[in-house]
Each structure stands twice: as C-alpha cells, then as structure tokens.
Amino acid sequence: MNRSLTIQLGLVAIVGGLLVLILPSYLGIDRVLQLTLNFAFSVLALSLAFLWGYAGVFSFGQAAFFGVGAYAYAAAAINFGDSTWAVPIAILTPVLLSVLLGYFMFYARLTSIYVAVITLVVTLIIYKFMGQTAKPSYMIGNASLGGYNGIPAIPPLNVPGRIDLWAGPVEMFRIAGGVLLAVYIGLRLLLVSRLGRVLVGMRENELRMELMGFDTRLLKVVAFAISAAIAGLGGVLFANWNAFIDPHVFNLAFAAQPIIWVIIGGLGTLTGPILGTVVLSTLSLELGTQKMLDVNLVLGAIFTIFVLLVPQGIIPSIRAFLENRRAGAANKPGVAHE
C-alpha cells in the first residue's frame, strides 16, 4: 500500500475520529440526531457506491439489505435483551439473503437491467410481505413483526455483556460516525487490495477478466455480499437511531434513495455519495419546514435539472472543473506545451 494512501487514510481516521468525539458537545441535540441519521444513510450509500461504482453491479436492493439488517437487529435484540449477538446476526442475515439472491441472478448470467429489476422486485416483495405481518402469528421469538406498524421500542446498542451501559443519542452519534469512518477506510483499503482491483477490472471489462481466468459470477456474488453486509450495518444504526423500524424502508421511494444519493454525489467515488446523502437529506429536511412549496416538487425539479446539466454528479464535476483550471494554467503562453 502506497504512502500517500496511508497518509490520506490516517488523516481521515484522526480528523474524523476527533470530530466524531467532540462535535456532540458543540451541537444541539437536534443536529446530533440529524447527523446520526445521515451517518446511517451514508453507510447505506457507501454500500451502493462500492457495488455499483466500483464492482459495476447496479442494484435496486440495497435498501432491502438495510431494512433486513434493521429488522434482524430488532428481532434479535428484543429476544436476547442484549445487543451483543444482535449486531452480527443483523449483518449476517442480509449477507445470507444476498448470497441466495446473488446465486440466483449472477449464476444465470442475467444482464444488468434484469438484475436491476429483480432487486427492485425482491425489495417490493419484502415490502408487501412485511406489510401484512400484523397478525399475532408473525413473531420471531418474542418480537412481533407488526405489519405496517413496524417494531417499536428496539433495545439500544450496549457494551457487550453490560446491558446497563447502553447508547444514548450522543453515544449513537459517535458509534454511527465511527462506523461510517471505519466503512469508508475499509472500502478504500479493499479497493487497493487484490480483490478490489479484480472487481474494478470486472467493471471495466468483464469479458477480459473471464478470459484471464476469473469467475465473474462468483466475484459478483462476493461484491454483492460485501455490499449487503455494509447495508445491513447501516440498518443496525438506523434501527438504533429511532428505536423503531417499519416496512417503509422497503418501498419504492426509499429503495430509490441510495441510487439518487450515489448519482448526485458522483458514481465511481466514495466521498461523493456521502456528500450526496448529507446534502439531499439536509435539503429534504429544510424544505420540509417551509410551507410554500411541496418537498417533492422542489426535489423533483432539482433532480431533473441536475441530470440535464450536471450528469456526472457533484464530486466528479468539481474534479473536472479543477482539472480544467489546471489545464488552463498550463496553456498560458510561456509554458512549455506539446
């Protein structure tokens, strides 16, 4: 691993870590809660940013893994009364789902539009199914699934083995922020590893990778599983944020969110989608407080105009702009130029 990357990631870890530790003291509780939610959503966005932007697999199902992670955490935490095993279960459950679904899709060599549709359909299936789990017979152990009403009073994360030491809003902020940093750094490291480079190679030219002897079907399942784990982890954070989960995370509107965050932030980057998530979530919130214009109206107009004018997304556009300025400087008279 090269030095510049080490320095970069080290800086991210230190600065990010510091911010996460000290910010709650300076921000009001509203802001803290809002940022915690943004962190959870950013983790979800990163799962798609990785899967789509780097491995080249477009999935409509990241919200499904997110939701399954949240539900799995809720059911496990309620049953155990302790979050220690709930977290790994919450991550493993979406991974299992992704392996099953991934095998079904990628081993049939379905093209990307069908993967998109199938992941969407599976998400909607889960939505419909969870929506009608209101009957008392739908229980996982002691946890009632609750249908459209969802599962309330989800036990918070606690220090392993110490139920009395549980996370309040400030602790959740730090945990969520820490998780986001860890996922970001982890993905950056993954992407320079052999697996990461193979996945990027697959995105760039699948046939070439096949001819070089890689099994791209397996690679896609692996990428899918990694993204499911990340999304599931985001789901855990989300379940803790409000101590509540309901099926709306499986509906079409929410399933589209990660895609929008990634597109607006910039496909093919990791920081872009995080930025996209924060900007859009904040925008939605601010718009929600004013009464003049409907939130959907403004957001819809922004997306449409955005696509028409800034097709690559925020981060890549900024990068391109900066590169053009640098190139412009190189074209000044007196500067040697091929």
């Binding site: 477009f58 079904f104 049939a108 379905l110 093209t111 539009i113 069908y114 549709v117 199938i118 969407l120 359909v121 599976v122 909607l124 299936i125 419909k128 199914f129 929506g131 009608q132 509906n251 079409l252 509107a253 589209a256 895609i259 929008i260 597109i263 214009l293 409907d294 939130v295 959907n296 109206l297 403004v298 957001l299 819809g300 107009a301 922004i302 997306f303 449409t304 105009i305 955005f306 696509v307 028409l308 097709p311």
Partner: protein, 285 residues
C-alpha cells in the same frame, strides 16, 4: 365460480391496462419511465376534476384524460427525455425527478387527501353473489384498447413506421423519417394510454397524489417480463401474472396475491431472461 372468473379477468385486464402504456414507451425507446405511475395518476385526476365540474363521466374518462396526459407526455419528451437518448441511468433519475415533481405539484393543488368517484354501472349478480358490474367495463376497455393497438401497429402507416423504428432506427432516418418525431409521438401515445388507464381505474382505486407508487412495481415487472413485443408480450404477461395474482388473492389475502405475482415474475425472468417475447415469432407485434 363464475364470479371468480370475472374477478380473474378483471385483474388481468387491470394489469394489462396499467402496463401497456409503459410497454409502448419501453418497446420503442428502451426507456424505463419512472414517472409512469404519475401519468396514471394524472389520468385519474383529470377524470375526477372534470367530472366534479359537471363534465359527463364518460367524456372525462375517454376523451379528456387521454388528451391531457398525452400532452403532458409530449412536454416530458421534448423537455427531458430527448436530451437523454441512450443514457439509461440518467433517464431513470430524470424520470424519477419528474415523478416527484408531478406528485408534489398535484399535492399542492389538490392536497394530500383521497377523493373518490362512485363506481358507476351498479352490480351484477350470479348465484346469489353480488359484484361490481364496472369490472365488465374494465375488461371491455382493455380488449378494445389492445385490439386497437394491434390494428394500428399491423395495419396503419404510423404502425409500420413505429415497428420499423423499433427494429432499426438508423435505417428509418435514411428512408426520410425523422426518428425524433417518432419518439415524441410514441411517448405521447404511451402517456395518453396510461392516462386513459388511470382514468378508467379511478372509480375503483380512489384518487390521491401518491397513487402512482402502487402501480409502478407491477407495471414494470409486467413490461420487463413481456419483453419487446408490445402487444403479445404485455398481453401474455398480464394473463399469466394477473391470474397468479387473483387466484392467490382468492385463496388467501390480497397482499399474498401481490407477493405471488412478484415471485412468479422472478421465476419467469430466470427462465426467460428476454421475456415472453422471446417465445413468440419475430413478426409478432
């Protein structure tokens, strides 16, 4: 038993109605129009608004709704879609943006309340069980609409140009036809038909700004499973999935019916990735 048959036919017809407008647009331009649900919704609002202002229900339903939504379709195509030809992801996001925009606009104008049109045509009775006779209208409209689409595609000049453009757009322009005009007209037709569908189904579903979301999953999956052939693919897919949906609903609950439809579609796609159209002759429309 007979009532069950009518219900199955009704579910098939409803599914076909909400899907065929999207199928036309997808078949011609390979565009997955995320604003499709909103086109259906605008059709419902057209008939609702016109009717509550004294216009005859049938005129509102069969004339005003399609024309209005067709015009909206032309606007969407000219202002947005045509700048994004060939860019599938961008079109997805842009049409999603349009979907939000229209939903927001209608919410601002009409408020987030459900309005209704009392279902016309009363009831019919078989074997002591009463059911809404409106179902026959839905079935009838669907049959007439599909027959019309088949006739236009196979027997008219416009249909010939449409089929040629779907097959080879580059060659169509070499023969003197402007493909952009073809695309605009096609999008408008798909929109108008969706408006009609939304209007016809309005008395059954109720009219609320967010109603589009309920349709879009089913419509998408029916169109994808139908494949390239607009008429044959959509028709067969609707029969298949409509039956699965309704039979499951009768046997258990409506929610399970939806789940069964989606699972059925999933399995079908695994077996026939190119959709049902890959099974029919290449001459089928």
């Amino acid at each position: 038993m007979a009532i069950a048959l009518v219900q199955i036919l009704n579910t098939i017809a409803s599914l076909a109605l909400i899907s065929v407008g999207l199928a036309i647009i997808f078949g011609m331009m390979k565009v997955m129009n995320f604003a499709h649900g909103e086109l259906l919704m605008l059709g419902a609002y057209s008939v609702q608004t016109a009717y509550s202002n004294g216009v005859n229900l049938w005129i509102a339903m069969f004339v005003i709704a399609p024309i209005f939504v067709g015009i909206v379709g032309i606007l969407i195509e000219l202002l947005v879609i045509r700048h994004l030809y060939g860019r599938m992801m961008d079109t997805l996001l842009a049409t999603w943006g349009i979907s939000l925009f229209i939903t927001g606009l209608i919410t601002m104008i009409f408020g987030n309340v459900t309005q209704g049109i009392s279902t016309p045509l009363g009831f019919y009775e078989i074997g002591g069980i009463r059911d809404s006779a409106y179902k026959f209208l839905i079935i009838g409209v669907t049959v007439v609409l599909f027959a019309g689409i088949w006739i236009v595609l196979k027997k008219t000049r416009m249909g010939l140009i449409a089929r040629a453009t779907m097959n080879n757009p580059g060659q169509v322009s070499v023969l003197g036809v402007n493909p952009r005009v073809v695309y605009t007209v096609t999008f408008a037709a798909g929109a108008a038909i969706s408006g009609l569908a939304g209007a016809v189904l309005a008395p059954v579903t109720g009219v609320v700004p967010t109603m589009g979301a309920a349709y879009i999953g089913k419509a998408f999956i029916t169109v994808i499973c139908g494949g390239d052939a607009i008429f044959a693919g959509t028709a067969i897919a609707s029969v298949l999935f409509g039956s699965i949906n309704q039979v499951t609903t009768i046997v258990s609950t409506a929610e399970f019916g939806e789940v069964a439809l989606l699972i059925g579609a999933l399995l079908m796609l695994r077996v026939l990735p190119k959709g049902i159209s890959s099974l029919v002759s290449n001459r089928a429309v």
